[in-house]
Amino acid sequence: MNLSGCAALVRKELTIYFATPIFYIMGFFFLLLSGYFFYTNLVYYSMLSIQIAQQAAQNPQLQAQLNAQEMVFRPLFQVLAVVLLLVVPLLTMRLLAEEKRSGTAELLFTYPLTDWSVILGKFLSALTVYVVLLAFTAIYAIATGFLTSVDWGALLTSYLGMILLGGSLLSLGLFASSLTENQIIAAVMGFSLLLLLWIIGLAQMLGTGPWAKVFQAVSIMDHYDNFTRGVIDTRDLVYHVSFIFFFLFLTKRILESRRWRA
């Protein structure tokens, strides 16, 4: 793999991301939604804290369970995971589809770059943009830190979960973008696949027996939930890393196919 070529591609993609309005529009709505959910969670938490503090003498256990991670950040990160279903296809739809539609693929694929350099360059640039968006939400944590005690370990674990979940969804979005020349089709396909993954997670709640176990094992949200609790489970790490690799690998196969589809 050509590392300097991959780095050049990341730089090019980031320049394009930050030069186009989609990043700013999407960033605005992402932060608007996350800000709204953070604010409502925080207000609810503070109201509850006051109420419980008044009844502290009667129910000391309840007061012990009440903390910012469980009441503010865990619900926030759970909602943000759903917001990602909308955000990710917008971030990834352009990546490969636009190269093919505009004809720039003809230059890109005649440069001495391996398919892995191209795919990793594209993936890492989308991941960087996503992490930049996510970094803005750190303001909520810092603000909360001034008001009440924050479990920073659990919070950082939640962010690790968000990055892994984002990486997984972005790899799937990139795969969708490799299938078509049309950005809209890439976005719709990406969104549909992400929705399907989310629904699989819900389906396991409806039944019992072996299928429920299978659904649970493949459900992406199930493998995200532990992180929001502040728990790092090796199974979840392996799941997300495998998920990312699997979809990047599928994307590579799609890119390769142009060489044998003679």
Partner: protein
């Protein structure tokens, strides 16, 4: 001499449509070869296969000793490619785009600036270095396409219509630039501008309907295609009598009067009738003002080869 391009039995189908059929040719290192053919002849397809962008349906293409399919990366490292329609990322400036192209082609970080400055100077891009490529005129976009192909000075340049959209002075500069590359670099260029081929290329490959119809130097092709020599004469005398006298001269195949005393005399294969014709005119008492041999132009060669092919294909 070392072979830079080796094409053997190259065939390419798009679905059921055959774009290139069993193409065979070789290009030696350091040669400048013009690739000609009417629209839809298969030129661009062949160049795309050579550049490693399209796979062939069958056959083999070797560039610099590497196979285009099995050793695609080595092939792509050996060439600079200017596509027919230069598409460039509209959100990047000229410098940003060239920086990306340079790094993607493996130009070292410390050599990057000098390399970009060199190609910008060669292609006249300095004045637009900070302009977004979306705002470039067609001519500048074409120059930028050429500039990225010239980065790192690859041993082989594949240029699909390099001077299209350029202004006349820029065309002259770019043609000179391509000529200067000969010797150290191999250039394969396709174009519709036939005088360009005569001026730049040492050899011409003409394809029609996916097959090679001629491959030789422009001079040799002119000789082969001409059914004989052509002689242009300027004679002061009664035009109908002059024409009749020339027609009766032995070895003359055809005479066409072009007005104002000009006659175009076509002769049989390999015959130089200039001395006999000069004597004939003088003996008749007319004044011979001009007498010169005229070669067939590349346009005529091209039209001759391409139109000759069609009845054969149909039969």
């Amino acid at each position: 001499m070392e072979t830079m391009i080796e094409v053997q039995d190259l065939t390419k189908y798009y679905g059921a449509t055959c774009a290139v059929h069993r193409l065979n040719f070789e290009v030696a290192a350091g040669e400048i070869v013009g690739f000609l053919g009417p629209n839809g002849a298969g030129k661009t397809t062949t160049l795309k296969i050579m550049a490693g962008y399209l796979p062939p349906t069958s056959g083999m293409v070797r560039i610099n000793g590497y196979d285009c399919v099995a050793q695609s990366l080595e092939v792509r490292s050996s060439l600079g490619y200017l596509p027919e329609n230069v598409a460039i990322y509209p959100d990047l400036t000229v410098t940003q785009f060239l920086r990306f192209a340079a790094r993607a082609k493996g130009v070292e970080a410390k050599a990057e600036k000098a390399e970009i400055d060199r190609v910008m100077a060669d292609c006249g891009l300095e004045e637009v270095r900070n302009t977004l490529t979306a705002s470039l005129s067609k001519g500048f976009r074409q120059r930028l396409g050429l500039a990225q192909a010239l980065l790192k000075l690859p041993p082989l340049l594949i240029l699909d219509e390099p001077t299209i959209g350029l202004d006349p002075s820029q065309i002259v500069e770019i043609r000179q630039l391509i000529k200067d590359l000969a010797g150290d670099h191999t250039v394969m260029l396709s174009t519709h501008i036939l005088p360009e081929v005569s001026q730049i290329c040492q050899r011409v490959i003409i394809i029609n309907r996916g097959q090679i119809v001629a491959s030789d130097t422009v001079e040799n092709l002119s000789r082969q295609v001409g059914r004989g020599d052509r002689i242009l004469m300027l004679v002061k005398g009664p035009e109908d009598q002059v024409a009749a006298a020339l027609r009766t001269a032995p070895g003359v195949a055809q005479v066409s009067g072009q007005g104002e005393g000009k006659f175009l005399v076509e002769t049989g294969n390999g015959l130089d009738l200039r001395p006999q014709l000069a004597r004939l005119v003088v003996e008749k008492g007319w004044d011979l003002l001009e007498l010169k041999s005229q070669e067939f132009t590349l346009e005529e060669v091209f039209l001759d080869l391409v139109t000759e092919e069609e009845p054969e294909e149909e039969s």
